[in-house]
Assembly symmetry: C2
Homo-oligomer: 392 residues x 2
């Protein structure tokens, strides 16, 4: 049995508990997660029995890759009959079919509803996201490799960093090194309208510009048509250079941040950087199975308040984001989120990027981000880049 | 009046014809198109009066960028009242609100429906896509600049192409050159599950591997988790090297293909390449206002059949795609498509990438792609890269 079939089996157990007839997986990332292939089509996982991968193209590649029965998608008119045939357990009762309503567009959902008259639809997106929260060893291995690639790329470019270099020039160098080492060139996000371009290199005041991006710092970007990531600001002596980057290897992402400086930071920013490291160390001390995700955020808030830095934590003023970290895997915005309202107890197999940062408008952003695996007894840091402020 | 306000005004005229009260623009690319900003939020364009941009973050950047009244999004409970206040013309009648149902996820649509009780919803996505089909001079200028960038990057890497270099290594070089010249690092697609990573470099048999990607050739990619674009195949003498690349400048995309070869192509592939150029020349001869989009595809099919190459055109066998070209702008999959069923008459301001290609399983893909502006009297080629097969 492949890892993909094990995942289908777990989902089937949950479907039986809920009385669902099957799960029609429509999102390419989820299709890959459950069958190991990402060709165009739909993956139907019945509550019992074999999964059926209905493929528009390429059928040949799907047949080579997928842990599922593969058939040509063919006419939508045959869809109802073919899915019904997989749901023997449902008898003649109306089918209850789950799908991912967090990403599925309304138009396509309407087409599916019309193709499966009488079916009741359930939102299965949270269930999928919760299953994907716990990584299997093969997933951890891919993230580990991504961590190796991002570290090697960072070390390769550090000797080339010069005063007067533009943010986007340094980012171009990093991306080149990442791609030479196997980065697939995408950083997938699940949330509507969310995009990520490798991460960002942002320096001084430009890093502290408020951002639409759902993170503590976003960068100016090159133009309002993509208002994030690196822009044209020049790296200057004494300014914090925030290098928040990731890459994708075998489908899996890593996310890490290091603060660099040419020369020295001024004492106030240096102190804030030190507090960021202390927050990370204090978080590590609590990082273990059973700890509730939101508690880590609340503990960090307390610590930051004691340090007198609340106004600067994770963005500034109205543009602060309300989290300390996020799950990561096939997508960068996975569960659990270390934020208020997220009551998930940490569990072995979770992979979480933790990123305490402080924003000083007009001056810059300092902070650090490492990605952790929750283990049976605590944690293991998957990020392998050197710790501490990096002086260039 | 800004170009963005002119676009709102055109949309308002169409809404009045249809009896719609307003358009709630939710997709980040459309929000940018109509107001010049891409911060997180919703843009409401009433059938009459000023547009209202409800922004979650960053409010500051939205205020600087947007051609619209900007307000904090705030509580969803106030949404109904605030949109109603913009629809004075509707009086007390239920609102008819359009939005983009081709991209809006079901979950978020449900939330919007709940926030606006009693409103009737219309699918405005086709209207937006049809409006965006006709480019304004500023849009054409951005595409022209993207064409310059992609050409300069291609010319910069050609001297570095060597036998035995991997596809992904050449792609890494191209991306580096693109990014140094202002490529924003994204190639946006609108269709569900669609992704694009710069385009692709694919050589010989690897280029001819069937693909899920909605194009004549997709490449193997590095792994089934992103089964497109460049892989690990090595560039070999005498094989066609398909370099199908684009970039994004000021939000706008270009798309071009050149076939390269180290040494010479074998006579059969060389002949197919020549036919691709002939198809492009014959298409140019018909490229003028009033020509129906699908006719260009049908004419190409005839020409290809005469050349005895039908089985190889735009993919091979079951994996052929059924089009000759596509509109391009903020996204790569814009209208019009040069394909059966697309009855749009060409009109000045349309920008279309035309890409006749031939696939030979086990041997490679040859072809060419240029991007054209439809003018009052015919066409102008926006692609500036040198014509013809490129011998390295």
């Amino acid at each position: 049995m492949t890892i993909f079939q094990l995942r289908q089996q777990w989902l089937q157990g949950e479907m039986i508990k809920r009385g669902w007839s099957g799960f029609l997986v429509t999102h390419h990332v989820d299709i890959y997660y459950y069958c190991g292939s990402m060709q165009t089509g739909y993956l139907f996982i019945p509550a019992e029995g074999e999964a059926l991968y209905l493929v528009r193209r390429s059928l040949i590649r799907a047949e080579e890759e997928a842990s599922a029965d593969v058939e040509a998608l063919g006419s939508w008119k045959t869809l109802a009959e073919r899915l019904r045939a997989r749901c023997a357990a449902a008898g003649d009762a109306p089918l209850r079919i789950a799908t991912e309503l967090d990403v599925l567009p309304v138009q396509l959902f309407g087409k599916l509803q019309a193709a499966l008259p009488g079916a009741a639809w359930e939102d299965g997106s949270l269930l999928v996201r919760e299953q994907r929260m716990i990584k299997s060893p093969d997933e951890v291995a891919a993230i580990r490799e991504a961590a190796r690639v991002v570290d090697a790329a960072l070390e390769a470019v550090i000797p080339h960093i010069r005063e007067g270099m533009a943010e986007f020039e340094l980012m171009a160098l990093i991306e080149h090194q990442l791609r030479l080492r196997g980065h697939q060139g995408l950083m997938r996000m699940r949330a509507y309208n969310s995009e990520l371009i490798t991460g960002m290199v942002a320096t001084g005041a430009a890093a502290a510009v408020p951002t639409y991006f759902d993170g503590p710092a976003g960068g100016t970007g090159l133009h309002p048509s993509s208002p994030q990531s690196s822009g044209r600001a020049l790296l200057m002596r004494g300014e914090p250079i925030l290098v928040d980057i990731g890459c994708m290897v075998d489908g899996y992402l890593i996310d890490q941040t290091r603060t660099l400086v040419i020369g020295d930071l001024d004492p106030e920013l240096q102190r804030a950087y030190d507090v960021a490291e202390q927050v990370l160390r204090a978080t590590e001390a609590k990082l273990q199975p059973g700890m509730i995700a939101e508690h880590l955020y609340l503990l960090a808030l307390d610590q930051v308040q004691e340090a007198g830095l609340s106004a600067h934590f994770m963005g500034y003023g109205a543009d602060q984001v309300k989290f300390l970290g996020h799950g990561i895997g096939l997508e960068i915005d996975e569960l659990p989120v270390l934020a208020k309202g997220f009551k998930y107890p940490l569990a072995p197999g979770m992979v979480i990027a933790i990123e305490p940062k402080f924003t000083f408008p007009g001056r810059g952003v300092v902070g650090v981000e490492d990605t952790y695996l929750i283990t049976d007894i605590g944690w293991e840091k998957l990020t392998i880049s050197r710790e501490g402020l990096i002086r260039v």
